[in-house]
Each structure stands twice: as C-alpha cells, then as structure tokens.
Symmetry: C2
Subunit: 181 residues, 2 copies
C-alpha cells in the first residue's frame, strides 16, 4: 500500500506519512509502497501494543465504569485487572468479574497484579494523592480524568482527558466565527 493510500485512510498527507514512518526506520519499498502486514507488526512493536497491559481503575464512578465495560479496551490489549473505590457501598461488589477494593489495598494490588497503567477517575481532590501512591507503587503511566495537572516524575507519562474542555473548544470554534454576541 502506498503512502498516498495510507494518507487517504488516515486523513493526512502522503508526505506526512512518509516522514513519520521514516522517523522509526525504513519500512517501505521504492516503487511498491509499504507491506501492510509487516508495517502493522512493526508499528505495534514500536507503540508497545504487541502485548497486554494490566490496568487498574481508580474510582468506580460512572466514568470509570463506562471505561471498564467498554469492550474495545480489552480487545486492544488493555486489561482492567483491579478496581478501587473509597465508597463503602461499592467495595466488595463485583463488576465484570472484578471485585471493587478499598483504596488501602491499592499498593499491594499494583505489585501483586503487575499493574503498569492506572486510570484515574476520582474527584479532583483525591487525584494527586492516588497518582503519587501509584507512582510510588510502580505504576508507569496514568490516564487522568480529573481536571487537575498531576505532579508526577517526568518518567511517568500522563494523558489528560478533560471533557468539559473539549466542549469549550467547540464553543470557541463556533463562537469565533460570529460577528458579536
């Protein structure tokens, strides 16, 4: 498949595809394009998604559970192996084969289950503390839904998801075209 076709599928340009791929090596054959199966295998390797990641869910509220039950996660190699919540109502309840645990069991579970990624879906006030505890226990990456900037060592990547800000971005893009309000 040519960079042209890859670009069309990925909503980008052929030059962009070639430059991006060249950053990681030489994948294609001149005159022919890229061998799809091999390219995918090599990219999966580079992205680190040629394996399963054990994920811990911190916060069993609506957002956390929605993620947990989203089948695409497991299908893509992200396996939620533990859930933590401080609500006594929720502790001990089973959700999709995983029992909700008290946060006091967090560090032990991270180590015992080999949790490398955590999803932080707790109120803003609790997020920093749980992030710190996660890092101390060996967590290597954090998907953060709390609307704060987490303070963690640079070796631990954080991806922030802030849905209010996404809506505000829409609001801005719509509003800026208007003469005045």
């Amino acid at each position: 498949m040519s960079s042209e076709e890859l670009a069309a599928r990925g909503q980008t340009t052929a030059a962009q595809v070639r430059k991006d791929l060249s950053h990681f090596g030489s994948f294609g054959k001149r005159g022919l394009g890229y061998p799809v199966d091999e390219l995918r295998a090599r990219l999966r390797r580079i992205l680190g998604i040629d394996r399963t990641w054990n994920v811990g869910l911190v916060g069993a509220g609506r957002i956390g559970l929605a993620l947990f039950e989203y089948p695409a996660f497991r299908a893509r190699g992200f396996d939620c192996v533990a859930i933590f919540d401080s609500d006594p109502e929720k502790i001990g309840r089973e959700l999709g084969g995983v029992v909700v645990q008290d946060p006091s069991a967090f560090e032990e579970a991270v180590r015992a289950l080999g949790i490398e990624l955590i999803v932080l879906a707790v109120p803003a006030e609790a997020a920093q503390e749980m992030a710190q505890r996660g890092v101390d226990a060996g967590v290597r990456g954090i998907l953060n839904f709390a609307p704060i900037r987490l303070n963690v060592p640079p070796r631990v990547p954080v991806e922030d998801v802030n849905l209010v800000m996404e809506l505000e971005a829409l609001s801005f893009q719509i509003s800026k075209d208007e003469p005045d309000a």
Copy 2:
C-alpha cells in the same frame, strides 16, 4: 495577577501566557499585571462560554450516560436537553429528568430545543449517519467518541475523544525508553 503567576497555575510559561492573551487583545496593565475578574469575563466571552449551550446526547450507552450525569457539565453551562438511542429497552425511560427518545425524533428535537452541540456516543457504524443528520438539522459542533473520522462540513467543528488511543500513547511513551522487548 502577573503573567508569571498565571503561568505557574496553568503549568506554562509567562511568555506563553502573554503571547496567547495578546492574540485576542491587550488585557493587562504594565507594571501591574492582569485584572483577574475582567480577564475572566473577557475570556469567557471569547470562548463563548458566557452563555448556556443546549447539548443533545446521541447514544445512551455507558459512556454517554456517564457524561450526562457528570455534574460539571451543567455547572459549566453545557445543558443536556435530549437523549437519543435506538435500543427499544431504553426508549421512554427517564434519565436525570430527560426521556430517551427514538432517533427518528432527532431532527425535530434539535430544532425544537435549539440543540447546537451533540455528543456522539454511538457505535462506529452509526456515527457518520448521525453526524450528517445532526449537521443537516442545524447542529454546530460535535463531540465524537466513535473511533472514526467524521466527514462533516468545515464550518462544523469536531472534537474527537478516543480513549484507546490515549492508552496507546501511554504505552508508546513507556515502551520507547526500553532498550528492547
């Protein structure tokens, strides 16, 4: 408040704050900094969040409902006024004071309720169709959870949220530091 302090709070640099703000005008006073109340009011205006937006939720699955019940949305001026889902089990049920409607009522509701933003939380197969119908009915912006690139006119901004890709980004950042796997 000085650009220095604003930068510290926003995890950025003083120069960045000043450049960004200068793009929209001159807000500060030399020697003094920025008047916080006035600055906030003017930024809210610029972002278009000095008003309420009526939001329609398309897809009453876990993710859609989690959003819908997230109190920060309404608190920030995004008011979910309608829910649509094709599942007969869900149609007619009330969720947080809003009755789930059949998608056939979509266009009519968009017009009647003045829905300007929609949250697309439906399976990938249904997303493009609902996006198109939304645009035709007058929707002005889309928050898209479906893992596809929507094809809509350039006047309609789309913000994509792809949680699997967020986890993959973490996976990549962690994996790239490793010698080899």
